[in-house]
Amino acid sequence: MSDKKIKNIFIQGPVPPSFIAESIGKHSSRTSIGAHQIFLGQVRGDEVSGKVVTAIEYTAFEDLALEKMHVIREDLFGKYPLTCMHIYHSLGLVKTGELCLFVFTSSAHREAATQACAEVVERIKGELPIWGKELFDDSTHQWKENK
Protein backbone atom coordinates (compact mmCIF):
# COMPACT_ATOMS: atom_id res chain seq x y z
CA MET A 1 0.00 0.00 0.00
CA SER A 2 2.71 2.43 1.09
CA ASP A 3 4.61 2.48 -2.18
CA LYS A 4 1.79 1.80 -4.65
CA LYS A 5 3.20 3.92 -7.47
CA ILE A 6 2.91 1.93 -10.70
CA LYS A 7 5.81 2.74 -13.01
CA ASN A 8 5.47 2.50 -16.75
CA ILE A 9 7.82 0.05 -18.46
CA PHE A 10 6.60 0.34 -22.05
CA ILE A 11 8.29 2.30 -24.78
CA GLN A 12 7.11 2.60 -28.36
CA GLY A 13 9.48 0.86 -30.79
CA PRO A 14 13.04 -0.31 -30.07
CA VAL A 15 15.20 0.63 -27.07
CA PRO A 16 17.91 2.98 -28.48
CA PRO A 17 21.49 2.33 -27.25
CA SER A 18 21.74 6.06 -26.44
CA PHE A 19 18.85 5.64 -23.98
CA ILE A 20 20.83 2.90 -22.22
CA ALA A 21 23.88 5.18 -21.99
CA GLU A 22 21.76 7.98 -20.49
CA SER A 23 20.26 5.57 -18.01
CA ILE A 24 23.73 4.36 -16.94
CA GLY A 25 25.07 7.92 -16.70
CA LYS A 26 22.29 8.96 -14.32
CA HIS A 27 23.68 6.57 -11.71
CA SER A 28 27.07 8.29 -11.29
CA SER A 29 25.71 10.37 -8.40
CA ARG A 30 24.63 7.25 -6.49
CA THR A 31 27.98 6.53 -4.89
CA SER A 32 26.76 3.55 -2.86
CA ILE A 33 26.49 1.56 -6.11
CA GLY A 34 29.38 -0.75 -6.94
CA ALA A 35 27.80 -3.03 -9.55
CA HIS A 36 25.33 -2.73 -12.41
CA GLN A 37 23.90 -5.68 -14.27
CA ILE A 38 22.14 -5.12 -17.58
CA PHE A 39 20.21 -7.56 -19.71
CA LEU A 40 19.22 -6.66 -23.26
CA GLY A 41 16.89 -8.63 -25.49
CA GLN A 42 17.64 -8.27 -29.22
CA VAL A 43 15.32 -9.42 -32.02
CA ARG A 44 16.90 -12.38 -33.84
CA GLY A 45 16.63 -12.90 -37.58
CA ASP A 46 15.57 -16.52 -37.13
CA GLU A 47 14.93 -18.64 -40.18
CA VAL A 48 11.76 -20.72 -40.10
CA SER A 49 11.24 -23.07 -43.07
CA GLY A 50 12.99 -20.77 -45.52
CA LYS A 51 11.47 -17.54 -44.25
CA VAL A 52 13.43 -14.99 -42.21
CA VAL A 53 12.12 -12.92 -39.27
CA THR A 54 12.43 -9.23 -40.16
CA ALA A 55 10.74 -7.77 -37.06
CA ILE A 56 8.64 -8.57 -34.01
CA GLU A 57 5.51 -6.58 -33.28
CA TYR A 58 4.78 -6.46 -29.56
CA THR A 59 1.39 -5.97 -27.94
CA ALA A 60 0.54 -6.16 -24.25
CA PHE A 61 -2.35 -6.12 -21.83
CA GLU A 62 -0.71 -2.99 -20.45
CA ASP A 63 -2.61 -2.40 -17.20
CA LEU A 64 -2.24 -6.01 -16.10
CA ALA A 65 1.44 -6.09 -17.16
CA LEU A 66 2.26 -2.95 -15.16
CA GLU A 67 0.51 -4.25 -12.07
CA LYS A 68 2.31 -7.58 -12.36
CA MET A 69 5.64 -5.81 -12.92
CA HIS A 70 5.00 -3.81 -9.77
CA VAL A 71 4.57 -7.04 -7.79
CA ILE A 72 7.75 -8.51 -9.29
CA ARG A 73 9.65 -5.32 -8.45
CA GLU A 74 8.47 -5.36 -4.83
CA ASP A 75 9.32 -9.07 -4.54
CA LEU A 76 12.87 -8.50 -5.75
CA PHE A 77 13.50 -5.41 -3.62
CA GLY A 78 12.36 -7.52 -0.67
CA LYS A 79 14.65 -10.38 -1.59
CA TYR A 80 17.88 -8.59 -2.62
CA PRO A 81 19.67 -5.45 -1.32
CA LEU A 82 19.17 -3.50 -4.54
CA THR A 83 19.81 0.20 -5.01
CA CYS A 84 17.88 0.51 -8.30
CA MET A 85 15.89 -1.49 -10.81
CA HIS A 86 14.80 -0.16 -14.19
CA ILE A 87 12.80 -2.12 -16.75
CA TYR A 88 11.86 -1.13 -20.30
CA HIS A 89 9.97 -3.29 -22.80
CA SER A 90 9.11 -2.34 -26.36
CA LEU A 91 5.61 -2.15 -27.80
CA GLY A 92 4.93 -2.04 -31.54
CA LEU A 93 7.49 -2.82 -34.18
CA VAL A 94 11.08 -3.81 -33.32
CA LYS A 95 13.21 -4.80 -36.30
CA THR A 96 15.74 -7.63 -36.39
CA GLY A 97 18.94 -6.50 -34.64
CA GLU A 98 17.12 -3.89 -32.54
CA LEU A 99 16.60 -4.08 -28.78
CA CYS A 100 13.21 -4.98 -27.29
CA LEU A 101 14.01 -5.41 -23.57
CA PHE A 102 16.26 -3.48 -21.20
CA VAL A 103 16.62 -4.71 -17.61
CA PHE A 104 18.95 -2.74 -15.35
CA THR A 105 19.70 -3.62 -11.71
CA SER A 106 22.23 -1.98 -9.39
CA SER A 107 23.60 -2.77 -5.94
CA ALA A 108 26.60 -2.15 -3.68
CA HIS A 109 28.08 -5.60 -4.35
CA ARG A 110 27.62 -7.61 -7.49
CA GLU A 111 25.74 -10.66 -6.23
CA ALA A 112 22.44 -8.83 -5.62
CA ALA A 113 22.39 -7.02 -8.98
CA THR A 114 23.42 -10.16 -10.87
CA GLN A 115 20.91 -12.50 -9.26
CA ALA A 116 18.05 -9.99 -9.35
CA CYS A 117 18.70 -9.25 -13.04
CA ALA A 118 18.49 -12.92 -14.04
CA GLU A 119 15.39 -13.44 -11.91
CA VAL A 120 13.53 -10.42 -13.23
CA VAL A 121 14.25 -11.41 -16.87
CA GLU A 122 12.88 -14.88 -16.15
CA ARG A 123 9.74 -13.45 -14.54
CA ILE A 124 9.17 -10.84 -17.29
CA LYS A 125 9.19 -13.63 -19.88
CA GLY A 126 6.96 -15.91 -17.85
CA GLU A 127 4.52 -13.58 -16.10
CA LEU A 128 3.93 -10.41 -18.09
CA PRO A 129 0.99 -10.44 -20.54
CA ILE A 130 3.02 -9.42 -23.59
CA TRP A 131 2.88 -11.04 -27.02
CA GLY A 132 5.35 -10.98 -29.87
CA LYS A 133 4.24 -11.43 -33.48
CA GLU A 134 7.17 -12.49 -35.67
CA LEU A 135 6.93 -10.89 -39.10
CA PHE A 136 8.60 -12.73 -42.00
CA ASP A 137 10.17 -11.39 -45.18
CA ASP A 138 7.28 -12.81 -47.26
CA SER A 139 4.67 -10.78 -45.30
CA THR A 140 3.42 -13.81 -43.36
CA HIS A 141 3.73 -14.01 -39.57
CA GLN A 142 3.75 -16.38 -36.63
CA TRP A 143 3.14 -15.75 -32.96
CA LYS A 144 6.28 -16.06 -30.88
CA GLU A 145 6.36 -18.63 -28.10
CA ASN A 146 8.71 -18.43 -25.13
CA LYS A 147 10.33 -21.73 -24.26
Binding site: G41, Y58, T59, A60, F61, D63, L64, A65, E67, K68, H89, C100, L101, V121, I124, K125, G126, E127, L128, P129, I130, W131, G132, K133, W143, K144, E145, N146
Partner: protein, 77 residues
Protein backbone atom coordinates in the same frame (compact mmCIF):
# COMPACT_ATOMS: atom_id res chain seq x y z
CA UNK B 1 -26.19 -10.77 -20.49
CA UNK B 2 -23.29 -8.90 -22.02
CA UNK B 3 -19.59 -9.48 -21.56
CA UNK B 4 -16.82 -7.25 -22.85
CA UNK B 5 -14.32 -9.59 -24.50
CA UNK B 6 -10.73 -8.51 -25.09
CA UNK B 7 -8.34 -10.83 -26.85
CA UNK B 8 -4.58 -10.91 -27.37
CA UNK B 9 -1.92 -12.59 -29.47
CA UNK B 10 -3.09 -15.35 -31.75
CA UNK B 11 -6.48 -15.45 -30.02
CA UNK B 12 -7.12 -11.94 -31.36
CA UNK B 13 -7.14 -13.52 -34.83
CA UNK B 14 -9.89 -15.97 -33.79
CA UNK B 15 -12.16 -13.95 -31.52
CA UNK B 16 -12.78 -10.25 -32.18
CA UNK B 17 -12.63 -7.67 -29.38
CA UNK B 18 -15.96 -6.20 -28.25
CA UNK B 19 -19.21 -6.65 -26.34
CA UNK B 20 -20.57 -10.18 -26.79
CA UNK B 21 -24.07 -11.37 -25.81
CA UNK B 22 -24.75 -14.57 -23.90
CA UNK B 23 -28.01 -16.17 -22.75
CA UNK B 24 -26.79 -16.69 -19.19
CA UNK B 25 -23.33 -17.46 -17.92
CA UNK B 26 -22.73 -18.16 -14.25
CA UNK B 27 -19.00 -18.74 -14.12
CA UNK B 28 -15.80 -18.74 -16.15
CA UNK B 29 -15.84 -22.52 -16.74
CA UNK B 30 -19.23 -22.12 -18.42
CA UNK B 31 -18.00 -19.09 -20.36
CA UNK B 32 -15.00 -21.05 -21.63
CA UNK B 33 -17.22 -23.94 -22.78
CA UNK B 34 -19.50 -21.54 -24.69
CA UNK B 35 -16.59 -19.69 -26.28
CA UNK B 36 -14.94 -22.95 -27.36
CA UNK B 37 -18.24 -23.95 -28.97
CA UNK B 38 -18.58 -20.63 -30.81
CA UNK B 39 -14.88 -20.57 -31.76
CA UNK B 40 -13.72 -24.19 -32.12
CA UNK B 41 -10.08 -23.08 -32.78
CA UNK B 42 -9.91 -21.74 -29.22
CA UNK B 43 -10.21 -25.28 -27.83
CA UNK B 44 -6.81 -26.14 -29.31
CA UNK B 45 -5.01 -23.25 -27.62
CA UNK B 46 -3.72 -22.96 -24.06
CA UNK B 47 -5.11 -19.73 -22.63
CA UNK B 48 -5.76 -17.83 -19.40
CA UNK B 49 -8.56 -15.45 -18.46
CA UNK B 50 -8.51 -12.15 -16.60
CA UNK B 51 -11.69 -10.74 -15.08
CA UNK B 52 -11.66 -6.94 -14.95
CA UNK B 53 -7.86 -6.93 -15.22
CA UNK B 54 -7.32 -9.63 -12.59
CA UNK B 55 -5.72 -12.83 -13.79
CA UNK B 56 -7.70 -15.85 -12.56
CA UNK B 57 -6.26 -19.29 -11.86
CA UNK B 58 -9.53 -21.13 -11.09
CA UNK B 59 -13.25 -21.01 -11.82
CA UNK B 60 -14.83 -17.65 -10.84
CA UNK B 61 -18.38 -16.23 -10.99
CA UNK B 62 -19.19 -14.06 -14.01
CA UNK B 63 -21.53 -11.07 -13.75
CA UNK B 64 -23.24 -8.90 -16.37
CA UNK B 65 -20.98 -6.20 -17.83
CA UNK B 66 -17.71 -7.79 -16.73
CA UNK B 67 -14.62 -7.47 -18.90
CA UNK B 68 -12.98 -10.79 -19.76
CA UNK B 69 -9.51 -10.90 -21.29
CA UNK B 70 -8.56 -14.08 -23.16
CA UNK B 71 -4.81 -14.53 -23.27
CA UNK B 72 -2.64 -17.14 -25.00
CA UNK B 73 0.79 -17.99 -23.49
CA UNK B 74 2.91 -14.88 -22.95
CA UNK B 75 5.86 -14.24 -25.24
CA UNK B 76 7.41 -10.97 -24.13
CA UNK B 77 11.11 -10.30 -23.72
Amino acid sequence: MEIDIITFGKISEIIPNGIMSFAAVTDTDELKAILEQRYPQLAGIKYKLALNKTLIQENKPVTDGVTVAIMPPFSGG
